[in-house]
Amino acid sequence: MSKMVPWLVLISMLLALYGAFVYAPTERVMGPVQRIFYVHVGLAWNAFLAFFVVFLYSLLYLVRGRRRDDMVAACSAEVGLIFTTLVLVTGPLWARPVWNTWWPWGDPRLTTTLVLWLIYLAYMVLRSQMEESEQKYKFAAVLGIVGFLDVPIVWMSIRWWTRTLHPVVIRSGEVRLEPRMFHALLIAVVAFGLLYLYLLQLRLGIEQSKSRIEQFRQQSGLAG
């Protein structure tokens, strides 16, 4: 099953490219630049999924204390952070020609995503500064839980904050999406979802090898 994943990623990515560049019609007002939408949203939704997985496995780690739960949380946070970084890159690329600004602070989604990115960057910093120990896994799990619960409150506060500054002018009109655009979006979301699974699987493999090597070292008295 897990051997299939890379092939599924390849096929779905090709389909997603076809969907975005050929199948989906060109947007009337924005023109071809709108096609970045499929990559942008495909990444964004899966980034949220990745952070939900961090939350879930952090909770599981605190409850049952299995080393593997912490590994899943750590690896998912890494992939989620990369996806969020790409969301924050593709967003301004799209915003510049369409909204005439790289970084519209007035958009609550963009600003919330930035805060999200900062939270999980802090998560990685915390992990990088600690030696492998149960304490590290516990600390990371606590941050994984607190960070995820913070997101809805960040979203609420930023929505109110932007509303009082100036009206929300920009709404990406994805509620009423042309059917073919919607299909292309779905394929892109699935493709990036599979990519997320694949990267998570690869990262977990590395982590497991690492901890196995560490075990061998300790057994043979070569520690340190």
């Binding site: 802090a122 516990k138 606590v142 607190v146 619960l149 913070d150 409150i153 930023i158 109110w160």
Partner: protein
Amino acid sequence: MRLLRQAGWIVWKDLLTEYRGKEAFLSTVFFAFLVLIIFNFAFSPGSESTPEVAPGILWVAFTFSGVLSLNRSFLMEKETATLEALLLSPLPRGTLYLGKMAANLLFLLLVEALILPMFAVFFNYNLLPFSATLALVVLLADVGFVAVGTLFAAMAASLKTREILLPILLFPIVVPVLISAVKATGALLERLEFGELIPWLKILAAFDLVFVWVSYWVFEYVVEES
């Protein structure tokens, strides 16, 4: 009742240590005061932008001095091995958290009580007509800030890079608190109606409830000795 009494002892212990030391409290106040002054130079005072930047400056001063005082909160406990003694005592972890949190909250509130009059003088505001509402905003924001801050300070205390790590962990999380506190304070300074404040107070209250409860629950994982 028992919980309150036990947490009360922790608060009493922390405040007594502060009272006997004093220099930490005074330097925190001095630091917050300096932040106000520095920002006064950065944005020329009395100019048209003052109403827009004043609440932000106030909360930057509170946040920075808050992080400084939080950093100390568990450092002394570690250095003198008080934390180990506290963990050995038959004190539930959650109670210990509530005690430390309340002590940090009181410390921060005292600092702010001294800073607010200085802010009023230097930025030329009369805070008295709405002092009760302002106190409510400050209290709600501080509870949220300290709730997460105490939890993270306990984590940071066992790391070498604690001074820099605490703000890195804390600032992204308290973004909603900062936004709400700044906007609510701004609304007060501009004498807007109370209705304008309600969404901000709601967000602050939601943050406080969620994070006091979560921190109370996870604190035991943070102080457990490895």
